[in-house]
Symmetry: C2
Subunit: 480 residues, 2 copies
């Protein structure tokens, strides 16, 4: 008999049909009720053991974590909490799970801290919480690809190993084929990178944007979705040394078009998970509500998870200039009462998460896109406005998160770009190929970057970024 996935079984009408399933034991009550899960859904199928006709040696091995094959009759459930259950006829133990050993792991049926779960990242996906998170993550990924595919974007794999460090000086990991104890040296006793694999110093990319721009100039609309790296020694709940980034880049598109794209894109992918992951989101929503009970009122989530997602998909994003935002912040209560950690005193200040969240959560009460930032706090490639002091940058701000997206219209004028690179001490020779895009058929173009894990954090209601990527890489941690 063909095995059926549990997600399908749970949708099946119980016409007393024979069925067989495979999965892992999540619970075994009263020597009778097995809760079996196969990862296809957060929900378990209940299998009722015919314990009189089941050999004791089988019963003894139905432990939490064990892999079973169960054949039986699908019928209406007598218990509550599920529509159908399986009256088990035959149970095969596919893989045992010694209950004493299980007790030493996070598979054991008690509350484990998220920290503990992280130490066993190879097992945590077998828990309800992490199963749900990783299914939502996967569906979000798919939504990203589907959105861009439907809208005429081409996926581009920009290089991971890069010889250029124009953007990330100091924060990049080095890649080498040298034995670090014995690298090739030149006549001055310095490491001779000409003898290294690539014949020069190489790093792990911090962004595929510059390369993506060259592709937008040929294919029109492109996007990257790949790993990026920061060798930043930040041990916080918001930083990863390795994370996945989405970077669309669009030719013939100005900042307004860029804002439209970011808003449309985010709404699409969140709508996708609202539609396709309801069971998982419901679980995560409830998890958050339970967790919030232990917190002081002010630290609780202002609304349930799915409502929060709809708050994004159903609201227009408010578009506000940086200059306007500074005025609002300067005159805001927390600024006047000195409640902000960083007080806003004058135009030109870099905004912190507390300011971004104030604008979104307290002032506008909707997602906000800030634009036209001071040139000196933004990157060299952003398009200079006619005022000579602001650039066509934009940040999309979200409740609870702050910046979700950072983007800009790119400086398309060769001379202005060269001027900016001089100011920023960026070597023209290193970026000769980037400048070529402005030499041959340059045009207005725009793009943005979205850290995928931030989106997953937001969509799952989790609060530590290490809990939304399978095997997080952080300072002092590259386990698994």
């Amino acid at each position: 008999m063909k095995n059926t996935k549990i997600v399908e079984v749970l949708k099946t009408d119980p016409v007393l049909q024979e069925i067989s399933v495979q999965g892992w034991v999540r619970a075994f009550r009263s020597n009778r009720f097995i809760a079996l899960n196969d990862g296809s859904t957060i929900n378990n199928i209940q299998a009722v053991v015919d314990f009189e006709n089941t050999p004791q040696e089988i019963l003894d091995e139905i432990n939490i974590g064990a892999a079973l094959h169960i054949t039986g009759t699908l019928k209406e459930s007598e218990g509550k909490g599920q529509k159908v259950e399986i009256a088990a006829k035959e149970i095969t133990i596919l893989g045992k799970a010694n209950s004493d050993d299980v007790k030493k792991t996070i598979l054991s049926p008690k509350r484990h801290s998220l920290e503990k779960l992280r130490e066993q990242a190879h097992l945590r996906v077998r828990t309800n919480t992490f199963g749900a998170i990783m299914r939502v993550r996967a569906k979000l990924s798919f939504a990203v690809h589907q959105y861009f595919n439907e809208n005429g974007f081409y996926y581009v794999n920009t290089p991971i190993i890069t010889g250029s460090d124009a953007e990330g000086a100091g924060e990049m990991f080095r890649v080498t084929n040298f034995d670090l104890n014995n690298p090739a040296k030149d006549e001055n006793g310095k490491v001779n990178f000409k003898e290294d694999f690539f014949g020069k110093e190489t790093n792990l990319t911090v962004s595929g944007q510059l390369e993506a721009e060259t592709y937008a100039m040929g294919l029109g609309q492109v996007y990257t979705f790949g790993p990026t790296f920061r060798a930043e020694n930040s041990n916080t709940s918001r930083h990863l040394a390795e994370f996945w980034m989405i970077e669309p880049e669009v030719a013939f598109c100005d900042l307004d078009g860029n804002m439209d794209l970011a808003e449309d894109f985010i709404k699409y992918v969140l709508n996708y998970v609202l539609t396709h992951c309801d069971d998982d989101l419901a679980f995560l929503e409830n998890r958050l509500i339970q967790e919030d009970k232990a917190k002081p009122e002010k630290d609780r989530a202002p609304m349930p998870l799915r409502e929060k997602l709809k708050f994004i998909t159903e609201n227009n994003f408010k578009r506000v200039s940086y200059t306007e935002a500074i005025e609002i912040l300067k005159n805001s209560k927390p600024n006047k009462k000195k409640k902000f950690d960083y007080l806003i005193e004058e135009w030109g200040a870099d905004l912190q998460s507390e300011h971004e969240r104030y604008l979104v959560e307290k002032h506008f009460k909707c997602p906000v896109i800030l634009f036209d930032y001071p040139a000196q706090i933004k990157a060299f490639y952003m398009r200079l406005n006619e005022d000579g002091k602001t650039v066509r940058a934009m940040d999309v701000l979200f409740p609870g998160i702050g910046e979700m997206v950072g983007g800009s219209q790119r400086e398309e004028r060769l001379e202005v770009l060269q001027e900016k690179m001089k100011e920023f001490n960026i070597d023209e020779e290193e970026l000769w190929w980037y400048l070529d895009t402005r030499r041959f058929g340059s045009c207005v173009h725009s793009g943005f970057g979205l850290g995928f894990e931030r989106l997953v954090l937001f969509a799952t209601g989790m609060s530590n970024i290490r809990d939304v990527i399978p095997f997080p890489r952080t300072p002092q941690n590259a386990e698994f």
Copy 2:
């Protein structure tokens, strides 16, 4: 007026409507006919210049490579080769392209070698060939995600930076945050990796399989699709130091199921591009035919590109055991006449590309899946057969390429796996987490790996792997 993409314009009925387009000049003939391309399709739209009413300074800037905005009337084309054309009313030069400068680049309208194009990888996507390749690549990527999503697989991002080198000893790139001229040292003068970013030696991954297995044991069906790395000093048309790999991993799936999956998957993604990339494939097919004319008969492609793809999608893959294949090869003409570079003398020999291609192209004349390989030539994690000398490995062999997919049923028995690891000198302590999957609810499971660039090579008919990835990384080359 809203700008229309050229792919849409070319599908529009010419009802004399006003239209505006943007793109780059691919050709400008007789001071009159502009061929404009925006990357949305390989096809150009022809815009006919009203040269009497177009200022000379505009006409002077309509150079190859320049970015233009053209407004005009869409009408039936008077020339041949296109259905519609635009009678241009207004032409705006968005970005110039100095024709003397263009002559120094691969944008200039003459035949450039693929080597030359590689040196200008930031511009080559603006050529017909590379536009087509990269659109096919992008569509293939999407097909991969869509196939797995439709079939209940979850996308898993396994780590790129890894502390484990169990699989790739000697071929892995090192990742470090040290200044290589001045790394932290211990009391013995050795590099002290405890002081490095991750507190230990780290490398770039060669495969996400082992981590994916842990996820398959929770989510049931997963796949990776991400960059992998080899620090192999191979300067060939088949090797990249950085390439993208697809690795599905399925719980409760044996080798037969694995073969079914590989065959179904490959057929799906190739069918997808046959359906969605016909213009690009037609161009690439013709390109290959033209190129083959300069070659001796025996080196030409045995069939046109799209026919070759249909050869895969419409044929059953022949499944043959390694043992049977060895017999066939031993008795084959090229073996007896000593035409193979590596003669097949006895069971246990590792097959070379020439043998794989003989089986596919000469003997079976269809795609072939070889299975049950000798244990000693395969990896430690492959399931040992009852004969004690073969493992449940499989390779999918393609015409012109040889191995397209390598996979196996995984060894699910803890003791056998431990034994194998001892034999292969793999440290149990390093893979404690991998072994845990066999301790807690182990089950029959399988997976495979497919090097994405090989698939793109096959689908585009290109012959050098550096031409199917935007910015190839190879020994002595990490430009851009």
